[in-house]
């Protein structure tokens, strides 16, 4: 038996993708840039994948660049704004692919402001607006936080950013939000948006960057002119076709899947809430994604609980690498000002629509039993 509750890390590919892989092996592997008919068919398929992702984003007219994933898309965004020394605004709870890239911009002499989250774990539009300056080139605030599941009101943030400085661009990392929370790019005021395929039950190695217009973009890779010259390199065609299939599948089932995930997550939450020593690190219901639940088991180290559950075939996440000794711990939870014990004991449970209530109940039983044993062994 295996219960997978680490769906924010990656997800099990949809079973329908197996047929797609077979098709690819048999006759779908041609280079979409080649000129003969089978290659042209692949080219058409790639473009239909582009259409599917844009539809799933409910995007207005604009560009969609396929990338190798969220990290590349995020790095591509920043590359577009570094020609002159400028000012950037981001949050202190971004994924490393924005956070570390922003820190690198600082080292290169750009100015960057990091906005801290509020008590409800979200980023306040007013805090962002206050940081925007006349020379602000780009504001980047993630849609759903990957560790806590807190949802930021990015349309609201985009609006205040535009009001404070109409020439500043707004980007949001939507990797954890895409097809998990209701959202439409149309009318959102968001200029750039990042998504990734393997978080929605497709394969690793495919992602996309939406851009309202080409002027916002600068290619990271130069080469054969693929993706309109903005992302050279032969397309990951299998990954993109799987991305298309997953987009179609999740758009079709969006309502029922998000309800299902919410039920599962809330079931976990209510099972853990009553447990002594457990602290919930989550935004209020209306501001939290349906699939992520972050809780701290005080008095133990998250990693120990993770391994103890692993023994039972239950896989969960910690959200950050272990090593409290070196003062690492979760940057996101640190930004919340939580104490060391709360940070050390923080685990991330993340569900998919394919988990079941029975699985949640089994996991809850195991968590309670293991926590009961482990918290008896406190460092002394």
């Amino acid at each position: 038996m295996e219960i997978y509750l680490d769906n924010a890390a990656t997800t099990r590919p949809l079973s329908e993708l197996e047929a797609l892989v077979h098709e690819y092996m048999r006759g779908g592997w041609y280079n979409p840039s080649s000129l003969y008919r089978p290659a042209a068919l692949v080219h058409t398929a790639v473009n239909s994948a582009r259409k599917s992702v844009l539809e799933a984003l409910r995007a207005p007219k604009g560009e969609l660049l396929f990338t190798s994933g969220g990290t590349e898309a995020n790095n591509t965004v920043l590359a577009g704004f570094t020609k002159r020394k400028r000012h950037f605004v981001t949050s202190g709870i971004e994924h490393p692919s924005i956070y570390e890239a922003m820190k690198s911009l600082m080292r290169e002499g750009h100015a960057v402001d990091f906005i801290r989250p509020k008590a409800d774990l979200t980023i306040a539009a007013s805090d962002v607006a206050a940081a925007v300056r006349e020379d602000t080139a780009l504001v980047s605030v993630m849609h759903v936080n990957n560790e806590t599941g807190a949802v930021n009101d990015i349309a609201g943030i985009a609006a205040v950013v535009k009001k404070a400085n109409p020439s500043a661009a707004f980007h949001s990392d939507g990797v954890q939000a895409f097809l998990k929370v209701p959202f439409s790019l149309e009318g959102s005021g968001v200029d750039l948006y990042t998504v990734s395929a393997h978080k929605i039950h497709a394969f690793k190695g495919a992602g996309a960057l939406y851009a309202a217009n080409r002027a916002l973009l600068k290619p990271l890779f130069l080469g054969g002119g693929q993706e309109g010259g903005y992302r050279a390199g032969t397309e990951n065609t299998l990954g993109l076709l799987a991305f298309r299939a997953a987009c179609t599948h999740f758009t079709e089932h969006f309502e029922s899947y998000t309800v299902k995930m919410r039920i599962l997550r809330d079931r976990l939450l209510s099972g853990l809430e009553g447990l002594g020593g457990v602290l919930v690190n989550a935004a209020p219901q209306e501001k939290s994604a349906p699939h992520i639940l972050n809780v701290s088991f005080t008095g133990i180290r998250a990693e120990v609980l993770l391994h103890a559950l692993e023994e039972e075939g239950i896989y969960i996440g910690t959200g950050s690498a272990c090593s409290s000794k070196k003062g690492m711990g979760s940057r996101v939870l640190k930004a919340m000002g939580y104490d060391k014990e709360r940070i050390e004991g923080a685990v991330r449970l993340s569900v998919s629509p394919f988990n079941t209530e029975e699985e949640i109940d089994t996991a809850l039983e195991a968590i309670k039993a293991k926590y009961g044993i482990l918290k008896g062994f406190k460092r002394r």
Binding site: I300, E311, S323
Partner: protein
Amino acid sequence: MEHLLLVRYGEIFLKGLNRPFFEKLLVKRTREALEEFSGAEVIRGDGRFYISGYKEEDERAVIGRIREVFGLHSVCPAVKTDKEFKTVCEAAAGKLRDALKGGQSTFKVEARRADKKYPMDSMEIAREAGAFLLDNVEGAKVDIHNPDITVAIEIRDAAYCYAEVIPCAGGMPVGSNGRAALLLSGGIDSPVAGYMVAKRGVEICAVHFHSFPYTGEKARQKVIDLAKILARSAGNIKLHIVHFTDIQTEIYQKCPGEELTIIMRRFMMRIAEKLARQDGAQALVTGESVGQVASQTMQSLYVTDSVVGMPVFRPVIGMDKIEIMDYARKIGTYETSILPYEDCCTVFVAKHPVTRPRMANIERSESVLDTLGLIEASLQKSETLLIEP
């Protein structure tokens, strides 16, 4: 003309009647190390080995591998020619030209004549070959006293020329000095300790204490990786991964907090000794250094050693942490050792451990534990792997 490697061995040269035994073992170890290079042959010469038959493009890789074999002193990339003097001089010129590419300019020639029937003596060979090189190698200047490059010519069964002497690991061939069990933690010190003992010709088996769920699969893999690095020089290593968690929790529940570590260490030593005896080892090896942590004070070492009936060697006992780290970098274990997966059993490390444990107190605290039963149960849940380089 043939490219080959001339390999000299170190200390075993000094051995008397046992020398053939050591030589044979060293040839065996060298051959094992070169298994990955198809065609490579090791031939015993007089007080040296010749390695030939490998692909020429592999030469640097072969040298790299040779440098890891304990018992070898140095390796020289050489050419072997017939003894016709002109041919020898041309071979020497080729070696000198290669050496000059490094931007150096001065050279001298050293000659050795083992074949006493050769018409020129070594002084003449050096003088005449030197003159030839000076005339025929562009940019070469002679400096007898302080040359950048020493071109060596040896006249034996054939002539050998080389201009580069690369130092090897030294030590003694593994297997020439019995066997010892290394307590391998995954930190920086124990791989260094294991390397140092193996370098003296000791065959190593290793014991690792795993505390799942307090340490995970990545910590276990890290220890396997370290053993793999050690195995490049120390040969195949039998690695015991001991399930230690139940012993730790039992000690935690029944013994005073500040004595956790020292009692744990005593259990580790007992288990390591038991496994060592099973494996035919005659000693234990640890990476302890006096005073580094609470369990490594002289008093603590005394108390931990008291539970074992075989010698415990601690080759890094007198080294500072920085010295041990430098050594670890040199032998290539440092980068793996500092991966952050090991510190996860901190619950079982007291915040204020005893630094001057008294034997009587520790024995009294331990008396509530079923020592033999715990060890037996822990060994039941343990696994043994054979780690190859």
